[in-house]
Amino acid sequence: MRRIPNRSVGLINNDMQKKNTTDLTVSLQDAAVQLDSRIIWDDANVNVEQGEFVAVVGPNGSGKSTLLRVLLGLQYLSKGHVKVLGETPHRGNKLIGYVPQRRTFEPDMPIRGRDLVMMGLEGLRWGFALPGPAQHRQQKLVDEILQSVEALKYADRPIGQLSGGEQQRFILAQALIGKPRLLLLDEPLANLDLRNQIAIPQLVAKLASADSTTVLLVTHDINPLLPVVDKVIYIAKGNMVIGKPEEVITTETLSRLYEAPVEVVRDSNGRLFVVGLEQEVAHPHEH
């Protein structure tokens, strides 16, 4: 298979270079990440604007979580530049809300959902909360956001006893209560039933658009997100591409990314499926 140069640059957004990087929430230029001797991804050129809802998709191990870690300042680039909200990524950025990959809470975790959300607001501050008007105002903020994620009715129960979907609402509220400008979610739908896999992204989209929050959501299945997503970042075989779903998730684009013949089929409900990957896994192409 002959090598195709510059797989990512200029593929979808030809006007990328004209954008002023300070207007962008996320900007990657010729970026690469190397762990030990393995290059995770290379030649990444990605721009995300404020208020966009972007899904990050790709096979396991392609480096989706690595992308989030770079944006959080937990992972350095081996090449290229990255800017988040106009600055170099650093830890403890209060403008970024983060929901890491996680299993559910232990069943006997003796904390209420309400406490988890409050931690998002003031878990960083030393000391302990003194009762008074300031505390009262914070409680009201917590109540408001619990109302918007529709979790107020079970906010006082031990969080370990709630279902995956219920817990996820509190986790989301915790990330959003600080009014972040960028929200990063790593596989938030992994342990959820189908109903919640559709409901949670819609909830996220509703809350994010209210404040023009930019969202990057890592997932392995694009389909529940198709109704709400603006752009898709697809990472495969070290290549990263960004564009609208109908431009990225096509037979053409994905075959180029995977450097192998894969096909994208659309069923009668409009859902997208990538076929041909099993062949690729069984008989990887040399190049």
């Binding site: 830890r91 890491p100 003796p110 988890l116 931690m119 878990g123 960083l124 129960r157 031990p158």
Partner: protein, 313 residues
């Protein structure tokens, strides 16, 4: 007085006669006027010291213990007390006050454990092996001291009735330091304990808090050893918060309840031991255990009852 008490209680089963409680063993009888009883007990300096030290230790254990349970450090806390035993007996063998040996060893081990952070989970085999060895070390140091099994008894099982006024002051200072540290760490420590990954991403110094908390735990364990001894540390450090968190998920209420229970177990245990010739730590641990059983049983019964009524509908 303390040593005599110890000698009398080391062999309570030596004859059947001793099983029958002699309610006037300490000269004053039990009456149903509890206030008068407490006042009578307070005539004795050793009882005053016992109550004071006991309450301070109970408050600290109730608060620190809540986080021990939350962070799944029960076994590490247990290991610290055993390591402390080796330190204390080593100090005695060197002719130094055992509390210093206790503190040095526990704080040192605590910093090591805190530094390991998350890697300490699932390492109970390693911890168990280390603490078994430190107990053996303790026995060695004891034999070097050519002495007193009573010293060992006090360290292993607590000797709250042998606490001097100086000991109370040391306990108070250590207690105040511990409480101030916990007050400062409270919010970030709770965040890091419940939601470590998110806390770290938000900039909470998770590793530093881990080390600081382990040091606070080491100091609390050293204090609590005076009351219940090395082997029974769980009674004050783990059982009260374990009971509290079954009853409420509100963090502040759970801590308050944990402190209250620890104080109750300690004080009631002390009160009873004035009249019955058995070790104080036995009463404290038994009260704690019974309360835990009752709470578990009640939760089980309630669960079955709601199942029955919902099935009936």
């Amino acid at each position: 007085m303390g040593v005599y008490h110890l000698m009398a209680t080391i062999n309570p089963l030596s004859s059947l006669k001793n099983l029958i409680p002699n309610l006037t063993i300490r000269g004053t009888g039990f009456s149903w006027n509890l206030v008068a009883d407490v006042l009578a007990q307070f005539q004795y300096a050793f009882m005053q010291h016992a109550y004071m030290a006991g309450i301070i230790v109970a408050v600290v254990a109730g608060i620190v213990g809540y986080f021990v349970v939350l962070r799944s450090l029960s076994f590490a806390g247990h290991a610290l007390s055993h390591i402390g035993f080796a330190g204390a007996t080593g100090a005695v063998a060197l002719g130094v006050n055992p509390i210093y040996g206790l503190l040095v060893f526990t704080v040192g081990a605590a910093m090591g454990m805190g530094f390991m952070g998350k890697r300490i989970y699932g390492r109970d085999v390693v911890i168990g092996i280390v603490l078994a060895w430190t107990l053996g070390l303790g026995v060695l140091f004891l034999s070097l001291y050519t002495g007193y099994a009573t010293e060992a008894y006090a360290l292993l099982f607590g000797e709250i009735l042998g606490i001097s006024q100086a000991d109370v002051i040391v306990t108070l200072i250590a207690g105040v330091v511990t409480l101030i540290a916990m007050a400062i760490m409270f919010r970030p420590l709770l965040f890091a304990s419940v939601d470590g990954d998110v806390a770290e991403a938000r900039g909470v110094p998770v590793r530093l808090l881990s080390i600081l908390f382990m040091v606070v735990l080491a100091i609390s364990v050293s204090e609590a050893v005076q009351v219940v001894g090395v082997l029974l540390i769980f009674a004050l450090l783990v059982t009260p918060p374990a009971i509290a968190e079954r009853l409420t998920a509100h963090p502040i209420k759970a801590i308050g309840l944990s402190v209250l229970l620890a104080i109750l177990f300690t004080c009631i245990g002390l009160f009873i031991s004035f009249y019955l010739p058995y070790p104080v730590s036995f009463f404290i641990t038994t009260l704690a255990f019974i309360t835990y059983l009752v709470v578990r049983l009640w939760a089980y019964v309630r669960q079955r009852f709601t199942k029955l009524t919902s099935e009936a509908v």
